[in-house]
């Protein structure tokens, strides 16, 4: 069986290699490199003025269909709460969507957990890699890919750190984190020791990005809290008391770590020198890396649990300054220090600036921070209608992407409590409904959870959530990990209003995989922005391709790319509809639509 799988993988690799070599032969078309200091700022779209009951006349339908059962993905997370309710049993495992074999089809990697009494090895509860095929068919190739691994896994991230064209894989754990190098032949090799990235603190969400602009992907790992299974159990204050996983409130946070890529397969931990390991230690859960202050350098935003969120402004040369409070993104709109679980990043109001959204605990609002540019961020939960709707659930994974392709990023939230308080009879739900909010032209988010598919009408213990175009039909599908049920593959069945622009960026001077890069797209007089996701959501890694709705009649667009830490580059007449590769300094190439 594994032999057959390996053959299939090798065939895929072969075709991918041919395609990849073709890309590099293509001549540049209408490319233009812009001087670094002549920074082009996207012209903001006129924001729809506030109006009474702002609801567009026709709402494009959003429909998600759960296709897990027929897909071949049967992954069930192993580290569910045991009677001991260890703290490690509350976050679930991560999800990564990436094309590991360069066959044009997204593959799915899922991180597994463990138990202290019954370790994952005893149940063969390994992390798993599923190779994507046509028609939502996936095959488990974990063994063939040499990716069998056991432990208290948490989040994961994907990045081509060695710039060989094949994305590599990093898994954060309670315990030692692990790095697997993609050999390009359908297998992975663990290189944690050689690379020097085996941090042993409690890692939650890691992310690759070129933070010092040297053309190499560095690695940021968000760490959580100090805790040991030997510690006394934590009890609730109910009568009778219940054993629960310990509250973060009483734990001491762990500093995040930052690994600088040295370019020879090794990394150096530079957190302290870079200003990441700061005195006010956070209890990190998630992050996003993007150029949030529009100075051409990638910044790091970290959602912390019961400590203020970090905004690490990139000062250049791998130095950072924490400015969360000054930027207005450290605490919630109502002054609460939130439980920071997940982070989303997108320009929800299409004003040319990346906004942020953070999921928090039950009885706390989820945050939406609107980016005003030089004036910092302002919380807009209430004016968007998102305050009350987010206080009852406990949110983890969060995705802000344009699901119905109307040009406005919508909002998905995976919910689920960390404690089963039902025996206390207080009406606290353990499993919770996920939520989907339709973006009404940046003025309002309207909850449409009831109308978007069966999955959204049932309760789950939602955790990590990743987005990607799994069927290459030009929209974002979702993969949601749960604690107590198999992972959900949610096929986006929305009918797009018009055409879409689909891009994949490839760096040459800068990082080959330009994670965090800002992309500006102009159709007529209207600009939209997007970015290559780095981090985002909770313990997840996403499709690196950009998908942007461009309307009915747009056959071509002007595209500007801000290569992280490098030059800006502009392409004219980029075709819409099909996937287009934009190669730094070399132009573009359209590939046939891979089904």
């Amino acid at each position: 069986m594994s032999h057959l799988v390996r053959n299939r993988v090798m065939v895929g690799i072969g075709s991918a290699a041919v395609v990849a070599s073709l890309i590099w032969l293509v001549l540049p078309v209408a490319q233009q490199t812009l001087p670094r200091n002549n920074r082009p700022i996207a012209q903001p779209l006129p924001r729809t003025p506030p109006k009474d009951k702002a609801t567009p006349e026709s709402v494009p339908p959003i429909q998600f269909t759960r296709v897990t059962q027929s897909s071949g993905i049967d992954f069930q997370y192993y580290g569910n709460p045991s009677p001991e309710h260890y703290m490690t049993q509350q976050n679930g495992g991560g999800v990564a969507l990436f094309d590991f074999d360069a066959d044009g089809q997204l593959d799915v990697f899922l991180v597994n957990g463990s138990h202290f009494e019954l370790p994952a090895e005893s149940a063969n509860a390994t992390n798993r890699l599923y190779r994507g095929g046509a028609d939502w068919q996936f095959s488990d190739i974990t063994v063939a890919a040499d990716l069998e691994a056991f432990g208290h896994g948490m989040g994961c991230t994907v990045g081509d750190y060695d710039s060989d064209g094949f994305p590599d894989l990093y898994v954060a754990c309670y315990g030692r984190n692990r790095l697997w190098q993609n050999a390009g032949d359908g297998t992975f090799e663990e290189v944690t020791d050689f690379a020097g990235v085996g941090d042993e603190l409690w890692g939650t969400s890691p992310a690759f990005a070129d933070l010092d602009g040297d053309g190499l992907l560095d690695l940021y790992v968000v760490n959580y809290v100090h805790w040991s299974p030997e510690e006394p159990p934590c009890m609730s204050r109910h009568d009778p008391p219940m054993r629960l996983s310990c509250s973060t409130l009483e734990r001491i946070g762990q500093s995040d770590v930052l690994y600088k890529n040295l370019g020879d397969g090794r990394f150096e931990e530079v957190g302290k020198a870079a200003g990441i390991a700061i005195e006010e230690v956070g209890k990190g859960m998630a992050l996003t890396i993007a150029d949030l202050d529009e100075d051409g350098r990638l910044d790091v935003y970290v959602a912390n649990d019961t400590t203020p969120n970090y905004f690490f402004r990139n000062l250049g040369s791998m130095r950072f300054e924490e400015v969360g409070v000054a930027k207005g993104v450290a605490i919630s709109e109502n002054g609460d220090v939130g439980a920071g679980m997940g982070v989303a990043c997108a320009d929800y109001d299409r004003d040319g600036h990346f906004d942020l959204s953070v999921t928090n605990f039950r009885h706390q609002i989820n945050d939406v921070f609107r980016n005003l540019g030089a004036a910092g961020f302002v919380a807009t939960n209430t004016e968007l209608g998102l305050d009350y709707l987010s206080t009852l659930p406990l949110g983890f994974g969060i995705v802000m992407r344009d699901f119905n392709l109307d040009g406005w990023p919508d909002l998905f939230v995976a919910n689920g409590h960390i404690w089963d308080l039902s025996p206390a009879g207080q009406g606290d739900d353990y499993e919770m409904l996920p939520q989907l909010f339709l973006n009404e032209h940046g003025v309002r988010f309207r909850e449409i959870t009831d109308d978007v598919g069966e999955y959204f009408r049932s309760r789950h213990l939602g955790r990590a959530a990743a987005f990607g175009d799994l069927d290459n039909d030009g929209d974002f599908d979702l993969v949601v990990a749960h604690m107590d049920e198999p992972v959900a593959l949610l096929r986006n069945d929305a009918l797009p209003e018009g055409r879409v622009l689909r891009l994949r960026l490839i760096g040459t001077q800068m990082a080959r995989q330009p994670l965090g890069a800002r992309v500006e797209v102009r159709i007529g007089d209207e600009w939209s922005i997007a970015h290559i996701p780095s981090g985002e959501s909770f313990q997840a890694s996403h499709d690196e391709r950009v998908i942007l709705a461009v309307g009915d009649n747009a056959r071509a667009a002007t595209v500007r790319v801000w290569w992280p830490g490098g030059e800006k580059e502009e392409w004219k007449n980029v075709a819409t509809g099909e996937l287009v590769y934009l190669i730094e300094g070399q132009g573009r190439m359209a590939l046939p639509h891979t089904q």
Partner: protein, 422 residues
């Protein structure tokens, strides 16, 4: 001999008569004294009350009601320990006496309440339960018991007491504040059902509809919320709190034109110095409305009315910061962001420290840490309270260090008395 016997009989009758008269006089004087003492206590004239009681207690040291009134006076003078001692004496004097059920209830209720104030919650519960056993309709006692459970975060027990109260609930809305309190415990859906039951028993009450509207709003059930809030206004046009609440809701729902009309009708009541209880809500609604209209200066003007009176509310500081940011007054906004973050973190650390010490005996260092957080929150009285606890704990720590058998520490009472309601 007969004459002698006759004389003795007359004397006996005379003596009995004198005794009966004296006794009657004494009883009537005693009753009058007790009545007077109650009045004096109500008037706050404690010295006079104590003087009146002195002779009575000298004459009848085991007089239950007199002892009870003495305790009541002590309670009024915040001499809690002395009051508890007096109430307990009064209570024990009633032991084995079947009569005086009202006095017994009065003593037990007062004793329970004083013990509650002293943080002796378990003992307070015992006396409250005793009252309720004999008189299940003693709503004031249920209310105290419920408040005590809420204070102890024993939400489901508080719920049970509330359910009992609702069983005997007849016509008034005295349970409404309790339900509102319960909204703060994590069971909004269940809480809503209580409001609905109140609404069934008192249909059309504006206050109940308002409460229902707010509960639905908290649950994100906006259609129901709007229906009830409108109902609250229509059932009592002079319920201005309902009008402000509806206006706030409409602003949140982006129905700004109607909200503006609704607020305009209230403006005349908002003259300078007006002391209406919905003042803050009105100014906040006005600020939100102006913000929606992107009239940021006007919004700041309205918001300043609240910020001035609530300088420690980080939510309002942040709201003002956001308005300043929209006006590109970034430096001013930055100062407010910093203040809000400091207050929020102090609050959080205070919560963490309180949570920690509520589960186990704190160290003196932890008490000092909490006191520091209280000071940062500009709560000097709380800080002083925690410093006092810290000093007590320090003394206990010294005892522990020098003793082979550490004493049993129960610091609940000092926490509840001196640390404020956190």
């Amino acid at each position: 001999m007969r004459r002698k016997l006759y004389g003795l009989g007359v004397l006996a009758v005379l003596l009995v008569g004198v005794y009966a008269s004296l006794d009657r006089y004494a009883v009537s004087r005693e009753l009058a004294t007790l009545e007077r003492v109650r009045t004096l206590i109500e008037l706050g004239e404690m010295d006079a009350a104590r003087n009146n009681l002195r002779w009575l207690l000298w004459f009848r040291p085991k007089h239950s009601e007199a002892t009870f009134l003495l305790g009541l006076g002590q309670l009024n003078q915040k001499q809690f320990s002395e009051a508890i001692a007096s109430f307990k004496v009064a209570h024990s004097n009633l032991a084995g006496v079947a009569s005086h059920p009202e006095l017994r209830e009065e003593i037990e209720t007062s004793l329970g309440t004083t013990l509650l104030l002293e943080g002796q919650l378990d003992e307070a519960e015992k006396y409250f339960r005793a009252v309720l056993e004999r008189n299940p309709e003693a709503d004031a006692v249920r209310s105290s018991l419920q408040g005590m459970y809420l204070k102890q975060r024993r939400a489901h027990e508080a719920m049970r007491v509330l359910e009992d109260r609702l069983k005997v609930f007849t016509h008034d809305l005295s349970v409404l504040p309790s339900i509102l309190l319960l909204l703060s415990v994590p069971s909004p859906q269940k809480t809503l059902t209580y409001f609905e039951r109140v609404d069934e028993k008192c249909p059309g009450q504006s206050a109940v509809r308002l409460a229902l509207g707010r509960a639905h709003q908290d649950l994100g059930q906006f259609e129901e919320a709007e229906q009830y809030l409108r109902g609250a206004v229509s059932s009592n046009q002079s319920n201005q709190l309902a009008q402000v609440s509806l206006a706030s809701f409409l602003i949140e729902q982006n129905q700004v034109a109607e909200a503006e009309r609704s607020l305009a009708s209230l403006t005349s009541s908002m003259s300078d110095g007006a002391s209406v209880d919905w003042k803050d809500q009105y100014w906040l609604a006005l600020a939100c409305l102006a913000e929606r209209r992107e009239q940021f200066e006007k919004a700041i003007e309205a918001l300043d009315r609240i910020v001035d009176s609530r300088p420690l509310d980080p939510g309002e500081l942040l709201r003002k910061a956001r308005l300043l940011q929209r006006l590109r007054r970034v430096n001013e906004a930055g100062v407010l962001h910093q203040q809000a973050a400091e207050i929020s973190q102090a609050r959080l650390q205070l919560a963490a420290a309180s949570h920690r010490v509520s589960k186990e005996t704190p160290t003196s260092a932890e008490c000092r840490e909490i006191a520091e957080q209280c000071s940062k929150m500009r709560k000097p009285d709380w800080a002083e309270g925690w410093l006092t606890i810290g000093r007590n704990v320090e003394r206990l720590e010294e005892i522990v260090r020098s003793s082979s058998t550490p004493p049993e520490l129960n610091l609940d009472e000092i926490f509840y008395n001196t640390a404020g309601d956190q």
